[in-house]
């Protein structure tokens, strides 16, 4: 590249379970240009300095949700965070907080995926419809009621942001609860009662203490804090009215 090469120091939290007792920091010097992302910095390390550094990535465009990590202590997507922001002081990258480190910058995502599966993240139709009958009608405004919550890329940054998840990993957590709400808020869906059983539990909405940091770090504007906290009111109303409302499945 034409301009004189700048060098930035990237400190990586390494953890190789086969040799490290606990995570250790390792520093690399990386030449960079202003349009390089943190991910590209790591790729440089892997390609030319040390092939043993492991991290996940794929799309490079902030949509596949693979590349989340702590960058200078904040949960971010490394593909849309740029090295120039940390020059000249350098930066430290670590695996996403609150999640078990599998290896280096790779966290164990099994818990997140298991939770996602549990909330029935699919349409449970309010009224059945055949393909011949065509699509369900849904106005743009009805779509707006859930669209934001459907933009979750499952990057788990919100899990790394939420201290309640860190303190109690049984808590379903922001991203998954946002998806729960996404389906509940869909005009085509009639599965609220089934899903809410999870929401009403201690591990559901009530595990959240409205810290709000999840929404702050979300790269897609999902606002999981809103998805959860607006449901606390619903849950409370349901709690008190369940004995008087006839036909409720979840008494």
């Amino acid at each position: 590249m034409a301009d004189a090469e700048k060098i930035i120091e990237i400190e990586v939290l390494r953890y190789r379970p086969e040799q490290d007792k606990e995570p250790v920091l390792q520093t690399y010097k990386v030449p960079f240009t202003d349009d390089m992302s943190v991910l590209q910095g790591l790729q440089y390390i892997k390609d030319y300095l040390d092939g043993t550094v492991s991290f996940r990535w794929s799309c490079r465009m902030a949509i596949c949700g693979s590349c989340g990590m702590m960058i200078e202590g904040k949960p971010k997507l490394s593909c849309k965070t740029f090295l120039r922001e940390y020059y000249p002081q350098g930066l430290r990258v670590e695996a996403l907080a609150h999640l078990p480190i599998e290896r280096d910058l790779v966290v164990d995502a099994a818990d997140f995926v298991a939770k996602l599966e549990r909330i029935k993240p699919y349409i449970i139709p309010k009224e059945a419809r055949t393909l011949e009958q065509g699509e369900y009608l849904q106005t743009p405004q009805q779509r707006d009621m859930y669209e934001q919550f459907s933009s979750c890329i499952n990057c788990m940054l919100c899990y790394a942001a939420c201290p309640q998840y860190g303190l109690n990993p049984k808590f379903t957590g922001p991203g998954v609860l946002a998806l729960l709400h996404r389906y509940n808020a869909d005009s085509r869906d009639g599965g609220q009662d089934e899903r809410m059983k999870l929401g009403y539990a201690d591990e559901g909405f009530w595990g959240c203490t409205a810290v709000g940091y999840c929404s702050e770090v979300c790269p897609k504007g999902v606002d999981p804090a809103n998805a959860i906290n607006q449901n606390k009111m619903n849950s409370a109303i349901n709690y008190f009215t369940r004995f008087v409302t006839p036909g409720r499945a979840d008494k």
């Binding site: 303190l167 201690d202 203490t209 606390k232 008190f240």
Partner: protein, 118 residues
Amino acid sequence: MKRSNEPIFWSLFGAGGMLAALIGPALVFITGIAVPLGLIYAPDTMSYNNMLAFAQNWAGKLVMFGVVALFLWHAAHRIAILLHDFGVHAVAAVKLFSYGGAFLGTVIAGYALLAVGF
């Protein structure tokens, strides 16, 4: 999964929090600063007779009871979380301390308001 009983405590927390957010600053200013210092308000604003009259009135009773009890429940909920946030995981003890305290305060407030008569 088991349904949580949080709604009871959360509703009280919410009501207390809302009340405190709306009128809390004004109340603290009046009872804790303005009246003791004799600012703005008449010196007898919180005199025994005035307060007794207020407490004997059913609406007054309700206001006093509401403020004290809801503030306590609001605080109790947050204190329970605070203890959990600081890593105190003895859930039963935490609940006994916080909600137990709020309950006790509520009973005392009710008793006192009944005791002042109508």
